[in-house]
Amino acid sequence: MDIADRGFGFDAFGCERESALATYLTFKLLHRYWFRVESHGIDNIPATGRAILVSNHSGLLPFDGAMIGVDCADKLPTPRLVRAIVDHSPFAWPFMSKFFLRSGQVPGTKRNFEELLTQEQLVLVFPEGARGPSKLFSERYRLLPFNVGFAEIAIENRAPVIPVAVIGAEEQAPVITGSEKLGRRLGLPFLPVTPTFPLLGPAGLVPYPVKYSIHYGEPIWLHELPDAPAEGVLDPGAVGGVVARVRERVQDLVDEGLRMRGRAPRSDRAVAARAAEPVHGRSVPGSFQAAKTATATESGAVGATVTTADGDEGDPVEDPTPAATDTASGSDVVEVTDAEIEAEIEAEIEAETDAAPRTLSSSWRARRPPRRDDGKGRGRGHPGGGAR
């Protein structure tokens, strides 16, 4: 693990090799015995040179980042120190600030990010930001909108982006509810309520011993994408498109990880659940694959079935006309084409995933009663307020 030593054993950010090593050894115990981390595709991380790991973020305390760090130090042929770009708040707290800096974490500013890439470091970012860990448990494994800063820097510095999905962290501290207002008063992004916190005090922050699996995707060179912004011109629209693509890739990895763990991704489950519900005399398939394998026997229980037009799994279909009803079987069998099913599924998934999951702030805002427009508003922006 190399750091750009400035002559005293520290790099400019305050990272010290010995401290980083001590941190690694401590978290290695958690990596092996507490979270029992499995990793997939770690070969996608380059052995040398600049690279940006872009991961989903969750779990109240950033053990996901720590586990990625241990993974890269432990499982790469040449151990690499992961430099995580961290929210500002820990750097304001005594001891925590020192610990973060010594172990190689860096306050999140553009200049810091670029400086790390100039030093050919492996940088970890969580583009969901501090909102990620504030996600409610009911919204787990659904990515929030990504911040775009990392993509701009990746394009400007021609650094590959490696999508990363951490499975397990979402369950280590299930956030039931919380308060941003109280959190801000304490200098935190939010104050969470979990089944154990604040009930058990600080001990309630100890993460549950969930099993982690970390999935590393193939590198993406954002500046080489066909829809990447032209060199030197960071068009917000184009950058947004590129970010959406990275987010999609991370979500794919999350879904893939969930499937490998034997649990259908939320998007799949939601659509599959709806497949069982009769909708105007026919059911909607759960997924494309599920639709293909749906049989008349299975669907008979709900009085409807869907077969694909090519009929490779179900009975051969004579008439490929969509929505043809087989009255001979005595049940309403709706036949639809592959393309139709695929389009329908995609629309469903898109509607599910595009709707931003609720964070504490959004759910709070939704629950908050509307302001009275009785002329007692406090701000200028308030309808009842105005300049005096």
């Binding site: 400035r6 520290f10 400019a12 950010f13 750097f91 306050p107 810091n112």
Partner: protein, 327 residues
């Protein structure tokens, strides 16, 4: 009349304010031994000191005057000797000279007014082409979310609760910057990192010369001090540069946490929470164990302040040479 862009005279003629301060004295000697400097006019508010006694009066003139006094300043600029000297560069080191940090707010304001007055006078002299001012790194607003390297465009500390010393620095810095659009006189503002050197009054020097170094518990900021010799070299580079204008950070070669410098200075240190730290500092000052005043917000003991020196490297080709040493 000299205009920006015109070649300077063969030999520089430099006015140095605050000449009896440690940096002023070093700069005067450095310029005196520089063949490219034709004449030096040194001013300060004390009698001619012994270390200037041996200097050739044809090349070096010392005038006793207090720049806080407008009349004395007027007399200098109107004097025949000064006019004959045809000064083309000014190094202003007379701002907040010595250990004035314990003075009242009004005194600091007077210092800022004096700098404004001095700058206005210098800008009014036809021959003056460059004015170099020594500001400081504490003019920057130090926060936990600052970038590791602070460039010249970073936010300044305009906090209402900042101590008068910092406020005066920021005000004087702004006074100089307000004249930067002057077409004839090039204004150079140096913002050095904490200066280390014998008899230098800087916050870090004062901290490290304390009998017991107090630090904020749980913090160990990265710092980049500069050797006093390098500050003098930067002034020389600014005086001799063909063209120089703007704000420049200058910093030394060594980057390390504060605790490393405490260790190098062979001092004992103790980490205390801020309220206790202030009390300990007050006690130390009462018994004369330190010159440092930590009554205001000691953010520089909490958050790192590494100056980004790319601009000075590119514009003035200045790079630090000296490592920090402690005797």
């Amino acid at each position: 009349m000299t205009r920006a862009g015109e070649p300077l005279q063969a030999g520089r003629r430099v006015l140095v304010s605050g000449a009896t301060s440690t940096l002023g004295r070093m700069l005067c000697h450095e310029l005196y031994h520089d063949d490219r400097v034709e004449h030096i006019v040194a001013i300060d508010d004390t009698d001619r000191p012994y270390y200037f006694a041996d200097l050739d009066p044809h090349r070096f003139t010392y005038r006793e005057l207090n720049i806080l006094k407008s009349r004395q300043l007027s007399n200098l600029f109107l004097s025949d000797g000064f006019r004959r000297a045809r000064i083309d560069g000014v190094a202003h080191l007379g701002f907040l000279k010595g250990s004035e940090r314990r003075r009242g707010r009004a005194d600091f304001e007077a210092d800022v007014d004096a700098t404004k007055n001095f700058l206005d006078r210098c800008v009014g002299v036809e021959t003056v082409r460059r004015f170099v001012f020594l500001s400081g790194s504490l003019v920057y607003k130090l926060r936990p979310w600052n970038s590791v390297f602070i460039d010249e465009d970073a936010d300044l500390n305009f906090d209402s609760h900042a101590d008068p010393w910092t406020k005066a620095r920021v005000d004087a810095d702004m006074v100089c910057r307000s004249q930067m659009d002057n077409g004839r006189v090039e204004i150079v503002v140096f913002r050095p990192g904490p200066i280390i050197g014998n008899n230098i009054s800087s916050h870090l020097n004062d901290l490290l010369s304390s009998w017991l170094v107090v630090q904020v518990a749980g913090y160990d900021p990265m710092i980049r001090p500069i050797h006093s010799r390098d500050v003098v070299r930067a002034f020389k580079a600014a005086v001799h540069a063909e063209s120089a204008r703007g704000v420049f950070n200058i910093a030394g070669r060594d980057i390390a946490p504060l605790s490393e410098f405490v260790r190098l200075a062979r001092r004992r240190s103790v980490g205390l929470p801020i309220p206790m730290l202030r009390a300990a500092n007050r006690l130390e000052r009462i018994v004369g164990m330190t010159r440092l005043d930590l009554s205001s917000s000691p953010n520089w003991l909490k958050y790192g302040c590494l100056l980004d020196t790319r601009r000075v490297e590119q514009t003035l080709a200045f790079e630090p040479e000296h490592h920090v040493k402690f005797s």
